[in-house]
């Protein structure tokens, strides 16, 4: 097991640099201390904001990230800085949810991961895309299939 203080640079730093354009380099991991058992981690980000790539108008939404960790776990301050970096990035809702999901899979190689975007309405319509991923093990493939089929049975209102 690595020393967590040696793994992380953002958390506990006396100075914090913010970027307002897409900056995946912010993302950091620490080692999962409980690799022998599966468990869920949910990260809720209620302050997500980016720009419409066509009109440049701001979009807002809540992101919900659920995952089953393998060896590496995303450190939450680095995730905060990464998510804030979308502030001046032009992103369609459907694209940004997939982009964040793929960045997190590349970072952590989790057993299972999903990203749900609950975006505020624009033009009377709110968009709620979901990205999902599982590794090749049958158990996690089954989880992905089950959640994909049963997704959004009780859709929430956001706005």
């Amino acid at each position: 097991m690595k020393n967590r203080e040696d793994e992380l640079t953002s958390l506990g730093s006396s100075t914090t640099e913010y970027k307002y354009e897409y900056a995946p380099e912010f993302l950091e991991t620490f080692e999962n201390a409980h690799q022998t058992n599966d468990y869920w981690v949910t990260l809720n980000a209620d302050e997500f904001s980016s720009l419409c790539p066509i009109t440049n108008q701001p979009d807002f939404g809540t992101l919900i990230i659920n995952y089953i960790p393998n060896v590496n776990m995303v450190e939450s301050k680095s995730l905060k800085l990464y998510l804030f970096s979308f502030l001046n990035s032009g992103e369609f809702h459907e694209d940004v949810v997939n982009k964040i999901g793929k960045d997190l899979v590349k970072l952590m190689a989790p057993k299972y991961l999903e990203v749900v975007g609950l975006f505020y309405p624009r033009g009377n319509i709110s968009i709620h895309p979901t990205y999902s991923y599982s590794n090749d093990e049958a158990k996690y493939k089954e989880i992905e299939k089950h959640r994909f089929i049963n997704r959004n049975i009780n859709p929430p209102r956001v706005g």
Binding site: T16, E17, Y18, D46, E47, S49, Q57, P58, F60, F84, L87, Y120, P121, N124, R157, V158, G159
Partner: protein, 118 residues
């Protein structure tokens, strides 16, 4: 971004709200909040498109969090003549602390679950 005014019936009581307030704190950290503005018209109010653009323009403004209600109050007061102007800003939590800021007339905002609730 300058606000524009439009003429309306004098005496109309207006309350605007937006859940999409965003500005930068001195640290550079983006701050999110809800904005509520209330006043009684003296014959004019803010053009809604210019109000939306003004709120959007705050995304690139750096302010002390405690000054955000005053900054918005001042911007409105510069453009339209009204009675009983009040601005309330509810900020999301930072370090476990929430802030409600009020400048001008105090009032309790009508808080709705979503923007289509009437």
């Amino acid at each position: 971004m300058a606000l524009k005014k439009i003429d309306i019936r004098e005496g109309t009581k207006i309350e605007y709200s937006s859940k999409e307030l965003l500005f930068l704190a001195k640290s550079g950290q983006p701050y999110r909040g809800s904005l509520y503005v209330k006043f009684t018209s003296l014959g004019e109010t803010i053009d809604l498109i210019s109000f939306k653009k003004y709120i959007t323009s705050l995304r690139n403004k750096t302010l002390n969090a405690e000054d955000i209600a005053y900054a918005i109050y001042e911007s409105i007061e510069l453009v339209i003549q009204v009675n009983d102007l009040g601005v309330v800003v509810d900020l999301t939590a930072r370090g476990g602390l929430q802030q409600r800021l009020n400048y001008g007339v105090e009032f309790s905002p009508i808080i709705k679950n979503n923007i289509f609730q009437v």
